[in-house]
Symmetry: C2
DNA sequence: GCGAGTTGTCTTCCACGGAAGACAACTTAT
DNA sequence: ATAAGTTGTCTTCCGTGGAAGACAACTCGC
């Protein structure tokens, strides 16, 4: 088994390009691999409900918003980090399943308000339980202290990344 | 700015479903978000070379393998965690760019040996330097000790995940 | 050597999401 | 009220990858 694909990769680079330091891959490569494996590991409940992971994202965003479980397409786009075009398609699929509805915003006739149907609320409430249980299971190898540390370090990475000034680009601070 | 999208999400779930523990999202959600942001942050060098991130994966896998910089399609599939169909397409694109070549394996006429051209080696050698520099920059907010801790914890998560027996599925241990 | 099963790769079809443009509806200045 | 510019969403086209099947080439037992 490729129990340590990342370590192998780092070893190979160390041999081939000893002038470089491949150690960042131990963290960044691992995160990327973990994300891929996590997606697959967490998919079964969604697959059983005939939902793409992205579609559940819509349901969850609406559900956790609280009553009346509505967001505009633009808000969904921001929350899910996808384009509005992707939102349109996700919502179209969910409407076909009867899990959400779309209507014209009362405040702005350009706006489309997406809302969970009662079926959608029920399904989401059920799926989020399974989902969080699966996530908890994945983390059960870590102590509480480990988890706090991991949270802190990942949040720190995220801060560096979203501050924008991490690389040769030179972030665009607008004052 | 949505400086802490994940924390917001956890807060929302805490309000809406106080019966559940949303804290796993602080780690797993963060990892998924980080992977997405990392992909984008690390893309520029590849985009400048007119390469998809996945295409660079092929080049890197071949380059770090060492001379003669060759792997079969199946080996590439395993190394990159994609199907052989995806390998075919990635290699097709790279052949069109003159960065790799494909030939029939001497040992097994079904096998296709993919190899870096000299142009491919040169490009990969240049890109991996930029790439690792960018990764190092992303990690510059972490101390050496932080990095070792993070490596350890991520590797631990990976072990739980790949051992298969983390969830309701019940792993398929074959012996 | 031959047939049955297996393996490695490619092909076809499909699902998903991004980019850019279309379009309607909003705002603002006049 | 109107024109010009902006904003929110949808539409179209494209690129990427997965799943399943096609196909050639391999292995093994006889």
């Amino acid at each position: 088994m490729d129990d340590d694909r990342i370590a192998d990769i780092v070893g190979q680079w160390g041999r081939e390009r000893p002038d470089l330091d491949p150690s960042p891959l131990l963290i960044i490569g691992r995160i990327q691999q973990l994300a891929a494996v996590l997606d697959e590991a967490l998919r079964p409940p969604f697959a059983a409900a005939d939902l793409g992971n992205g579609d559940f994202d819509v349901l969850a965003a609406l559900r956790r918003e609280g009553e009346p479980y509505t967001l505009t397409a633009g808000q969904l786009s921001q929350r899910m980090l996808v384009t509005t075009g992707a939102v349109t398609k996700r919502v179209d699929r969910l409407i076909a399943r009867g899990l959400v509805s779309r209507s014209v915003s009362a405040a702005d006739a350009r706006g489309r308000v997406v809302g969970l149907t009662s079926t959608g609320v029920a399904l989401t409430d059920r799926l989020i339980e399974e989902h969080l249980a699966n996530e908890a299971a994945i983390l059960r190898g870590l102590t509480d202290s480990d988890r706090r540390t991991l949270e802190r370090l990942l949040a720190a990475m995220n801060r560096t990344l979203t501050s924008g000034d991490f690389g040769p680009e030179g972030g665009d601070h607008d004052g």
